[in-house]
Structures are given as C-alpha cells and as structure tokens.
Symmetry: C2
C-alpha cells in the first residue's frame, strides 16, 4: 500500500481522540517493543528514562503506548463501570492449540502466515476465541494478562451504540427524531437537525478534522475540552464535551454518506443520557456488566464533569470483551436470560447501508457498512465487529458461532494496516471451527 493511501486511511479509519504517531520507518518488532522487556515503571523509584507519566504526549507515544494501554487509570481520573458483588461469569474452556497452525494468506500478500505468526505481526496484547461460547484460544502478551484492563479505543463507541439500540428497543429513544428533540442545547449545532439514527450510523454532515498531524485540527480542541484536569487560566475554548458539541459546525448533508467522526458518539451519548436519565457509564454497569456478571470492573475515562469519553475511553478485560460478543451472538441471551432485547442485537447484526459506506473508501472492508457504531463485513458469515485503532476488536461471526476479542498496541494508529493480517486470519479460524464440527 502506498504511503499516501495509508495516510488517507489513517484519517478515515477508526480514529480515537488520542494522539498518535505514524512510524516513518520500520518500527521495532513485537518482541523488541514488549513493555516487559523495556522495563517501564520498574523500580522504587523507576529510573528516569523508564518513567511513563502524563502528559499524553509522553505516555501515548509508541512504544510507551504498549505499556500505557493497560495503565490508563494510572494516568488520569476515571469512573468505574461496576460489576456488582456477585460471582463472576466463567466461560467453559475447550482450548485447541491446533488453532496456532491455522494458515491464511494476508490481504495483498502471496505468502501464507499462521494464526500464531499473525499475533506478533499485529503486536497483539491479547486475543481470545470463543466457539459456541467456549474458550478455544486464549493468548496474552505485552502489558496484558487475564486480570488487566486494556484501552478499547473506538470499541467504546460500539458499546454506546449497543446501549442506544437497547433504549430504542425499549421505546426510550425514537431514532427517527432529531437530536434537538432530546438535547435542546444542540439545536444550533450541526447535530440539531440530524436524526438520532444518522448520528448512530455516522451519516451526519458535521465538520470535524481528526488529522493528528494538523495542530489546528478539531481533534486537539476536543482533547483540550475533554482534559479532566483544571484548565490553564489563559484557556478560552470549550471546557468539556458538552460545550464542545455545541460548537460543532455542519459540513455536507445529513444522511447521504457514512463519514467516521468520533464526535457523533458524544452526541449520541448526550441523547442517551437525556432520554434515559442515566449516562453510558451507569447504563453499561446496569445493562451489561451486572446482568451478565462480567468478571471484572471496567474503567472509563472522562472529562472534568465525569462525562464519559464514549469515543474511546473504555478500559476492560479481554474476557469481558469476548463475553459481550458472545451475548450478541446469542441474540441478547445470557445464561438463560434475555439480558438485552433481541431487537437491539438484530439491528446491529443486520448491518447498515453498504451504498453509503462506499464513498468512505475503506479498502480493507469492501462491501462493508456501519450501523449503530458497529462495522459490518457483509461476508457470507454475516460477521460484524467493534473496531478500535491500534488493533482493538470484538468480532462476531454468527455462521461459525465464533467470537474473537483482541487487544493490541500496533505501532501505527489505523486498522487498515492491521486488517490484512487479521481479518483473513479470523475468517480462516472461523472456517477451521466450522470444518472441525462438520
């Protein structure tokens, strides 16, 4: 792929609000950049050159990022997504080491690669494969282990999209209504006359520049607004996500085409809060974590008002990410209970409009679509996925009855560079699992 294409994809692909840095040369390998090997934050005190701490321009540069993605709460204020006090769900295990040898051909390549090889190629911190609800593959590396919480990046958006679908199914939100119906404060912004559905599917016409290389890009003003620490005295910009959203201007027309802009999720989160009386953090706890008995609490990054960073601030365990996918695969059922309405899952699993997806030019997702903050592959397995930069994913393959959860810390911040060695790998394991049980 040409560098120019990579840059374009970087701007269009699943970006978060966090600063990233593209590698101009071949970066150190997975093993070379392993945070355990590099010894960050070890010692009492750690040596100065091994300290990782705020500001973000320090802790979120690569390879420090490979440590930071498991330690976000140690960098800034967070809110907990409570799991309650019950016994945790424990998935059955039926580990199959033959998966390591499953072979596939990376997109655009002629040389086959094994599943196991793909993990290092993708700087995978952890990957878990569920088949018919059982753990058939579980791998941890870098900063991650079963207990750690990993930054989910834009996978967070998909959790917010799911919550919105639940509220739609319950009649709490009408997705055909304009945003201003729920949030009068947004009436004068570009979101005001967009429908909730357009926000959920990111077909709004809003101006939001996520070009991290441009110091004047909106993403930086957004990050400054969302910084939970006290603002400098000289600061005059928006002071939180609510204020930022009200400043968003229009660009293009609502409803015409998919255009990935993180602030849609923030606008959706405001609609959710106003319509339901609870914000996404509370709803994730009450609607997902507690009824599912998830294994561990999650951490959510926030602005100074405690507003969740729904665009990318969720930190959770790999097992809990996989369980979410499994619950979707089971059409909202979990341990014999319908924990979320089947209609909510159906809306996501059905995918969006591929025609509106084409103009966005996602080379690695041909024929795909975007629906309710989820990416749909429209392949013959009906697969759909939550996706976050640096390689985060919750991948649901209904035909193969397979769920894959992956956390990673890939050196560059766009999934188009990771997809060639991951999407075909997922498909190959799906086919292996299908054939195994023929």
């Amino acid at each position: 792929m040409k560098k120019a294409t990579l840059i374009i994809l970087a701007l269009m692909a699943a970006a978060t609000v966090l600063p990233v840095r593209a590698a101009s040369t071949v970066p150190p390998s997975d093993a070379e950049s392993d945070p355990r090997k590099l010894g960050w934050m070890v010692g009492f005190p750690p040596p100065a050159e091994k300290v990782i701490a705020p500001p973000m321009s320090n802790f979120f540069t690569w390879p420090k990022l490979r440590w930071s993605v498991c330690h976000m709460r140690e960098m800034q204020a967070t809110r907990r997504i409570a799991r309650g006090v019950g016994a945790p769900y424990r998935a059955e295990e039926a580990l199959d080491s033959a998966i390591d040898e499953v072979s596939f051909t990376p997109t655009g390549s002629e040389k086959p690669m094994t599943w196991r090889e793909s993990l290092a190629a993708n700087y995978t911190d952890g990957i878990l494969v569920l088949h018919r609800g059982k753990v058939v593959y579980e791998y941890y590396s870098g900063c991650l282990d079963r207990e750690a919480r990993h930054l989910a990046m834009s996978v967070t958006k998909s959790y917010a999209g799911l919550i919105a679908e639940v509220l739609i199914a319950e009649g709490v939100i009408d997705d055909s209504r304009p945003v201003r119906h729920y949030v009068p404060e947004l009436a004068a912004s570009a979101f005001g006359d967009a429908t909730v559905r357009q926000v959920m599917d990111m077909t709004t016409g809003v101006r939001f520049n996520e070009d991290y290389a441009d110091p004047n890009a909106d993403i930086w003003a957004y990050a400054a607004a969302g910084d939970p620490t006290p603002k400098p005295e000289s600061y005059t910009g928006p002071r939180n996500y609510y204020e930022f959203l009200q400043s968003v201007q229009g660009e293009g027309r609502h409803g015409e085409a998919f255009s990935y802009k993180s602030i849609n999720t923030d606008a959706l989160a405001w609609v959710i809060a106003r319509a339901s009386g609870s914000d996404v953090v509370t709803l994730l706890s009450e609607r997902i974590w507690k009824p599912m008995g998830l294994e561990q609490e999650a951490d959510m990054m926030t602005d100074s008002l405690g507003t969740p960073l729904v665009a990318g601030g969720l930190n959770l365990s790999l097992r809990d990410a996989a369980s979410l996918g499994q619950m979707l695969l089971q059409r909202g059922q979990w341990q014999g209970e319908q924990v979320i309405p089947e209609q909510a899952v159906a809306s996501i699993a059905g995918g969006g409009d591929p025609a509106k997806f084409v103009p966005a030019g996602y080379d690695t997702l041909p024929g795909g679509s975007y629906r309710s903050m989820w990416w749909h592959l429209h392949n013959d397995h009906g697969a759909y996925s939550a996706r976050g930069i640096h390689g985060q994913a919750i991948y649901v393959d209904p035909k193969a009855e397979m769920v894959i959860a992956r956390f990673a810390s890939f050196p560059v911040a766009f999934n188009a560079a990771i997809d060639p060695t991951s999407l075909p790998a997922y498909q190959a394991v799906a086919e292996y699992l299908l054939s195994k049980h023929d």
Copy 2:
C-alpha cells in the same frame, strides 16, 4: 471541649495529607449535608453550582467532601488493588435490629444516646458490625452503598503496617535494622538512622508540620510533591514521595515518644518495596485481596511515579474493610487458611508502649498505644483499631469477637471530636453482644 484544645488535637490526631477545614460554627447536620440531598454532579451536564472537580481545594472542602470521599478515582489518577477473578467472599448475615437501641453515654456528656442516634451524630456514611464473623449490623448513608469504595484516609497506614508485619514474620524485613540498610537514599535524611520498628511505631524524631492552617507547613510541600499531574514549570520542590522523604530533617530523638507524622508511613512503604521487591499496592493485592477473595477491587491514590499514597490514599468497600478486621480477629486465618502469619497479627494485637504514647496527649485514648500503624486501646476487651480522620475506622474487639468497620465524613478533620460518640458506642455494642450470648 475548648477551641484551643480542638486545634491541638487536630494537629496531633490522625491526620492525612489532605486539606481540611475546621468548622467555626455549628455545621449542617448529617441529613442537611447528605450529598444525595445536595445533588452534587447530577444532570447532563450538572449545574455549575453542583459541580465537584479538581483542584483539591474545591473537592475536599466540606460538605463537598461528603460526595468526594466516594469518588476519589474520578478526581485523579489511581492504581487498582486487584482482587483477581475468583468468586467473592460473602459473609453470613444474622442482622440484629436491636443494636439500633443499644444505649451509651458519650464521653464528657451526661445524656445517653442510642447507637442509631450516634450514626447521624458522626456523619456516618456506612457502618458494619461483625460478630463471630457474621454481619449483625449494616448501614449505608450519604455517598456510600455496599458497592461504593470510600476513602479510608489514615486507615491506609494500618494496611501498610500490617504488610510490614507480614514481611517481618517472613524474615524479609528485620525491624531492628536502620532504614538506611534498606533504603540507602534515606541515609542522609532523619529517617536514615531510625530503625524500621521506630518508623512503624512512629517514635521517630522527624520534623514534619501537618498544620493545615499554616501555608508554609511541610504538609503542603508534601502534597505538592505527591500531586500526580505534571508540575508547573516554576516548580522547584521535590517531585514525588521519594524525593520528599530524602529532604526530611530531624527533630527530637528516635525511640523516645510516639509522635504522629504521616511521612513515617511513606518511609516504611519505601522499606517494604526495597526489601520485598513489590510495593504496597501489589502486596495488598497478593497478600490480602486475592487470598481473602475480597468482594471488590480497591483504588489507591499515587504520585506521578505510581508511588502509593500510603499515608491515606486507599479507597475500599465497607465490607472489605470489615473482612480485614475479621481476619485479624481470627489471628490471620480466613476460610480455613492461614492467609497471613499469626505472628504478624500478634504483634499488632499486643499493642505498643503506653508510656511512649502519653506525651502525645490523646485525651480520648487514655492508656492507649500505637503499634505498627494501629491504635491500641488497652481496655479490658483488648481492642485495637485502624483510624482515619473524618471518622474512618476498623475496630477489632477480641473479647467480644466483634469487628466494626466505619466510613464517615465528619465536618472536622480529627477523630477526637468523633471518639466521644463512637468509642463508647462500640464498647456498648460489644457488651450487648457479649451479654446476648452469655
């Protein structure tokens, strides 16, 4: 009590590193200052006058403090004390509502008060009484419920002291050695020639002014050093707890008398980390939270290097605080396992030297002592307690086989004002439980 006495007690009693404000007039009652009634941080966004956020001079003033004590991780960076992924311990329940009517006479008063009345008098956020390991009383109010984590203030110190006793019992630390043996960087500080035991019992001769009313007090330099956010460019002081400790000067002689100074706990924590290779956060997880299967993770406040604020930064659930007390009551046994050495408990339960305690002048703890960061009452029940300002406590009464855990948000920052309506109440309930099972 005279105001001058109150101020002296404020300086001498269980202080933390957090700023506090003494009430000059009668403060609003428990019900009037209930954070649920005051509606902090409610709404999307909350009204400006209901926002609680950093800096500390905002979020830690009373009555905002009554909300903040349950939301510390939402204010600043924290580290998790992991509980692992196992099923949580669940105490048996044998609730006894007659405890509400147990009557006692507050110290220095002639008018009796019931247990139930004492809860509001003490601005109690939560209190749990265990008798023979069963929950006989459980009460939540204000910001607290069973799931919330509450700031333990100086109760944190007692956890660090317990960890030190465990390491002594295991031969990892020799408490007769000078601090400089474990931490050469402290050789030139006042701590260098103090023994680890003197640090644990706070009989060191070190200069540390915890007078919150004095802007030049050491406590402010300590707080600035420990602030985990980036330092201002003009800042020239110590940048973390390690640097601060190295600057501590002597005052008086080691070993002569108990003198409550929070920095002793930080020095102890450095010894613990160097001797064991793990810091207090890791050790609390590995030695307490995981082996006991505690119900919920805890949050620890830190400096910019992730150094735990062992003087007062632990945030945990009330049930988990009570379980710690119960494990001590059981001399280190927990669900049939010896989770910590009996010797570690014996050292704490035996108390310190009352003669060294006298000069400190704690009117509400006559005949008491301080040992390994725990307060001993030397009463006929052999009771000892972890204590933190604003009313935090883990109170162990071996004779009555009773443990009381309490979190509170009393308007003023010293326990001497709370003890008159709590210590006699604890004793009365202990006697009630003893008589009930005669």
